[in-house]
Point group: D2
Chain length 308, copies 4
């Protein structure tokens, strides 16, 4: 990690000052005890440039629970391996429904709408598991390599807490299995899935790990993970499906490909220019970080770096 | 209209040659007789630059039925007048359902998901009608001014054909009226709505008329229609909701804000750079022009001008 | 009307006394002004025997707005004319959804689930209109003849009020028309439909008019309206679909074929034995008369006359 | 079992002769191998009178897989124990959807619509399991006692086959558990549930075991299982919800409380008079025995014993 005075330093400092003055911040996720304890007013933000330069404000080096943000990396890792065949098992359309809806699945015969709703991420994890034998391990290795942070790890307490509250995801997995769209045993799959979600990482780690999407598919070490076309495609899926049932609103306000997690983190990509990660545990009613969305909104307004 | 040798001329010529060699082209819309007669192999494409330069290939000056493409202009005209209040009456999230679904409306108490599904466009038209007394007339005047083509007009045969087959839209309008989300009498509203959809225009006309979205809200005559922020927002809504239930796929393949119509036309925006319009009447099963999407896909691949 | 001391007199007197002591009574319907004014504590009940004997308690001779109760008679009148062909245009399964849902219609291509949801009653009225040219007139003539009360009539104020608030039904009619399941012009159909619902009649009138369902299809004058098998079928549809989304609960508590209306009336049939009508304007949240269901529940408990 | 010349003997002989002449018979269930092998033309029918007299035709003493028929007995056994509290955990309204739909559950926060859809039967089994520690054992003991047939048993091959194909039911159970409406561990519950469904019994066995519903709650040994009111209620739930998505049609054609299973069996009750069981493995598209429904239809037509 090269920490230096990025061109974006004044912008981030400005945003930090604004956020500090903002009162309401939503509520932290409470469906598992391990997440409920977080103070919704905590805040951090980092920006990474394609050359590995990274700069941040607030608690930008504080690890938090990545949760659904890892769905982006799992998607990229599986897409790199199997290519377009993946799209026969998961769609790439916005869901138009809350993120764990079963209705859509029933309409569409067990094919989830996109890789970023839980059902879709279960399918992607299942396929990566079949191809690697250790989907969560692959993910962790990738995150460590891209961030240069070997201390990154699963948070087994969070994973255990998810498992204990995992009936909804178990229902999704069994339901898709009934349509033949899950290969691995459901308990094995859920274990892989919950461990992925449990990875603890900081804004700095995640901004760096997302870098391949700003570099059109090139990893930190210069090797290619995705083709230029695939990298564009992952960005497109993030823009249309990355923030649960608020993708339209996120595109409208922020105008960048992004992916949020209920831990309060959001990653975003300015193709060719930089990647961002923001964290604040207070969520809105659709599961996205209130201060996180506000900070990204300010970023694109101040820099003009929206894709639109 | 300034016709000159645009920088995009070689790209368009290349695409035209490819499209000529492509066999299958889908089927033209057949829900109204006035559209059914079109040969699915016809094709035209135009690109307009912010300064008004326009270039095209194939039947790029042939008028066709704009249909849902006009929803973009009606949205912009109403947004310019009432601003954010509009968003209390229509959402900006992808629908996740076929374009004329009633289910979503029932879930969400008469508030359509976005301005580009039929229900949402009816609401926007209703609001523009309340503010102007002649929504369709406003639209026509705008299209004429931006394209510089005073011959643009409604196709009253198409409008009559829509009216005669208008039970589904009548159902949508009455249904939203039952929730208090329609102000005008339903027959008046439908007349305005169907006339808007009936406008006949060419690829050249529409590429020029879309120019304000590439110029960040500035009209052809230099006056401002939308704020920079509003122009960005309209582009965002086009990207996430502009191609019926295929918005994710369009973003994935083309990577530009776009809006299609069942007449076979598609407009697209490269913010700050240019606008495009392509026409070919053969549709895929989701209502988008087969050759049109293919041509735009090639355009962004060849030029690298996707927003991702 | 032969008023005499029916065998059921002691039972009705007992029920009347119990109802008088009951506090809560729900709320009268308020979706149209003409219904909203009713005192929810008013109550009347009548029982009619197959020979035309009728006895009542409370306001059993007070006319009230029949509303959906007339759907039973319209069904019988159309079934008598066209027989089983009707069932190709409307189902006979419980709806499992609130009474004016559009979702079901969309799932099932414009064929409503049963004749007692609004969509189904619109189809039946449409078909009777096609066969008679005056569906509402046919209904009124039938009710007058069976009750022996020539003073029965439409309440045009109620009909006008329904029309002014008729967007939901207009949406249903247009929606089914879009599937080809409505023959008449929608405004003509709605006029016929709302006039039918507006008929004012008393418990005595309706208990007598329902008599043909206790007499296995035979009208008051001894002529046959329905075959024995058809009469049984109408009773079956009443039992499974007659009380909106509470058919299961009504069968569970009362155990008789019945049909309710939002005017607060309910008719019920003890096949071969008698017919009942009860009225009290206070409704529960599913649109059924609170005191009406309670009175019928007591009736079958006290007499053992449930079909189960 | 007292086999003697019942009053219904001529009727059953007549029906048997008719069925023998009927050509098409549907298809046997094929979702598990153990059921798929059955010849759809096999047929048996038995009638039991309240005093224990039983008579049958065809293969009326041939054991078959009871499947969903046992849901009636499990419901009665749990209702006898916990009474009306059960209805806070499962509804009693028709589902209006195919029998294993998840959509309804999602709408209604994990409370299944009635005890005869799979989700509802899982809840009832879960509650009986909590109260007895061995729901399947309770069921088997009850069936043996009422039929007088100690040879009745689980078919463990069928149960294993269901388990191997049990993803849909596992999804339902986990989904309801996510709403707090399942107490036991899902694998334990599924084991109990699938063993219940696997019981092999004959028409004679099941007609006798259903006797308590014709005797208003009294068991074969004269002891009371259900109150008179509860027995009426179970009959009501059977009539409105007993035959999957065809309850309305079954009421319309047969007019009796009934419950079908995908093994091809159907039980039916003529309250106060007799109980029936018919078996023929060929199913219609809604999962009910084709010849079974036809035979019951003929029975009520010939005897006039419909409840309507």
């Amino acid at each position: 990690m090269t920490i230096m005075s990025s061109q974006f330093r004044p912008v981030l400092d400005h945003i930090m000052a604004e956020i500090d003055r903002t009162p309401g911040r939503g509520r932290s996720a409470d469906y598992i005890p391990a997440l409920a304890a977080r103070d919704p007013r905590r805040f951090g933000m980092a920006v990474a440039e394609p050359d590995g330069t990274v700069y941040g404000v607030g608690e930008w080096r504080q690890p938090f629970s990545t949760q659904s943000i890892t769905k982006v990396f799992t998607l990229a890792l599986d897409l790199a391996r199997e290519g377009d065949e993946l799209w026969e098992h998961v769609g790439r359309e916005p869901s138009g429904n809350p993120f764990n809806s079963l209705v859509q699945l029933e309409y569409e015969s067990g094919i989830p709408r996109n890789p970023f709703i839980n059902a879709g991420a279960l399918v992607v994890t299942d396929r990566l598991q079949t191809r690697t034998g250790d989907a969560a391990g692959e993910l962790l290795a990738f995150l460590r390599a891209e961030s240069g942070n070997d201390a990154l790890d699963f948070d087994l307490e969070v994973a255990a807490s998810e498992t204990a509250n995992g009936d909804r995801n178990a229902a999704l997995a069994h339901f898709m299995a009934s349509y033949g769209n899950i290969d691995n045993d459901v308990p094995v799959l859920l274990d892989q899935y919950f461990r992925q979600c449990s990875v603890a990482a900081s804004c700095a780690d995640l901004a760096l790990a997302t870098g391949f999407l700003a570099r059109h598919g090139i990893r930190a070490d210069g090797s290619r993970l995705l083709s230029r076309s695939q990298a564009k495609q992952v960005n497109a899926v993030m823009l249309t499906c990355g923030t649960y049932d608020a993708a339209g609103d996120f595109a409208y306000r922020v105008g960048l490909p992004g992916k949020s997690g209920v831990g309060g983190g959001i990653i975003a990509v300015v193709p060719g220019r930089c990647t961002l990660c923001v964290w604040s545990p207070g969520l809105d009613e659709r599961g996205n970080s209130v201060a996180g969305v506000a900070a990204l909104d300010r970023f694109t307004t101040l820099t003009g770096l929206s894709v639109f």
